[in-house]
Point group: C2
Chain length 337, copies 2
């Protein structure tokens, strides 16, 4: 089979790779129907995180089960399935608390931008659709594999709920999904911070009540204008850079919460946050916890996170899928084997 392999910063290749197989009785093999490139893949593509050797890449997928190990009971060959970007057993004490990203027997995949993938802990990871989904739903189902669950996690971690004011820092796919999550969770005011036309448009379709193009102190001032002068109850930090984190600190009100899902590349002034009674919580999303509910919303066409994909290419053009996101020509690239 073929799949993507990152060789060095800026160098992702479509290459022949070994076919995955059932190695453990709890495994499944999934034939990928769609995969995609993640903002977090770009940390390596841009040389910010190291690439010590050629490595299969990608962690988002949906597809059809081709084989299952003897112990797998919840999905069967032929099922259409989606799984989160980390596998989980869904039975350990940590999963039973809903913290699947930190599952005691969880981990990452060996590269999902590929024709086929091995999914360990299939029962604790995959969620099947009741029937083969309509083709136009594929992007939204695929979005559940990471960005929509991650945006949802930011909102849940920050305590978003009815009546809250929410500001979202970051207008990438995760930030846009965080807007959608905040709206779904009943927030009253949902402010997307974005200065790109195409992204502003998606934020508005997702239900953002306000768009703020300004950043830094000007952005903070605009947020305060919309929040009785005090800042937002909940800020969803969906970037991870120092600038984005400090933007979040500036936009949140005293006593409010910051939901963190941007991979951390900067400090947080924790003592200052203490005196301001600002909470911080977040990390990798507990996909398996959120998937059943979000998949139901997608299949009922109540949410359409697939809108974040504005480029679709064959898997063989994976290099261009990366380049388009790196150069910000695309919000998020979907690839099909």
């Amino acid at each position: 089979m073929y799949g993507a392999v990152i060789h060095a910063p800026g160098d992702v290749r479509y290459e022949e790779r070994e076919d995955p197989a059932i190695l453990e009785p709890t495994d499944a093999v999934v034939r990928t129907v769609a995969a995609c490139v993640c903002g977090s893949d770009l940390w390596r593509y841009r040389g910010i995180s190291p690439v010590p050797k050629p490595t299969p890449i990608g962690h988002e997928y949906c597809g059809v089960v081709e084989a299952v190990g003897d112990a797998v009971t919840s999905v069967k060959v032929g099922d259409f399935v989606v799984g989160g970007f980390l596998y989980s057993d869904n039975t350990c004490p940590v999963c039973r608390k809903g913290a699947h990203a930190n599952c005691q027997h969880g981990g990452g995949y060996a590269g999902c931008q590929a024709d086929r993938i091995r999914v360990p802990q299939a029962d604790g990871t995959l969620v099947a659709t009741p029937e083969m989904p309509a083709d136009d739903l594929i992007p939204s189902i695929l979005a559940l594999s990471d960005v929509m669950c991650t945006g949802w996690h930011a909102a849940v971690s920050a305590g978003v709920g009815p009546g809250k004011s929410v500001a979202v820092v970051g207008d990438g796919a995760v930030g846009l999904c965080a807007v959608l999550a905040a709206v779904q969770l009943g927030a009253e005011t949902v402010i997307a911070m974005s200065r790109h036309d195409s992204r502003q448009k998606v934020a508005t379709e997702f239900g953002a009540t306000h768009i703020i193009a300004e950043r830094g102190e000007d952005g903070i001032a605009k947020i305060r204008e919309l929040t009785e002068g005090i800042g937002a109850d909940c800020v969803l930090e969906c970037v991870g850079t120092q600038d984005a984190r400090l933007q979040a600190v500036g936009c949140v009100r005293d006593g409010g919460n910051i939901g963190l899902v941007g991979v951390p590349h900067g400090e947080l002034p924790v003592d200052k946050l203490f005196w301001r009674n600002v909470g911080i919580k977040g990390g990798p999303a507990h996909c398996r916890e959120y998937l059943p509910q979000l998949l139901e919303l997608v299949l009922a066409r109540k949410i359409n996170p697939g809108l974040v994909f504005d480029l679709e290419l064959p898997l063989s053009e994976i290099a261009e899928a990366y380049a388009a996101m790196d150069e910000r020509r695309a919000i998020k690239s979907l690839v099909r084997p």
Copy 2:
């Protein structure tokens, strides 16, 4: 009138001070019935925080209203009242969110270990009892001025609720009140970390289900034994030192929460907490938010936080009240003018 003045580390004196007066129409003057020494007063007493000049000290009190400004409507002369360690207006946008410690017009007092004190923003700060309380209730009412609200704040900030497992780091008055708060809020398992007999006894009276005397890695191992091997859902950090903060980080489960109320004197490994999905929240307690509910519980004799006082002295012996706490001969000293 007389009151306490800190002159230098280890040097707190009972001195004549100017009588407080109504300076603003929103002020009240309260004749102190009881005041006390706070663990946070010891930071200066021990020379860890600076004492640039002789300063009136103390921020916990209950007493009888002696005078009110023209704008005060919710309390009247003769009322028995308690207020939090920070005053607040209870009307600004931040207070309306329940974050009274960060009130836009709030602040601290000019020394409450005194015969009389000026309470700014009386309407937004003081809560009156329906009648003169029984004398044996005074310590518990006084405890609401800081330690009980602070323990409660730790628990609320960490999301303590029914069914949760809770570990409390710190067996000072705040830590003990945090135990009481966790029990009241419905936690299933409440673990007090304490190696002092007298404090263990109070923790048990407050409803702790387990006492752990070990610290460091041994303490973490004991917590895990009680929590399916994963750590506590909520850890209440009631000290503030580096050791205590790292103890909290070690005792919390992945995906759990640390409630912070110890005045910060150490770092927190925020990136590590991110990958573990551990939330942190806390700061100075929102006393005015919690006071009505907690006062009701005290007056109904459902909680007795006054148990944390194990030394009572006349205000004139304030120096000994400090020394006893500094030398850990007392958990907390109550003084009466």
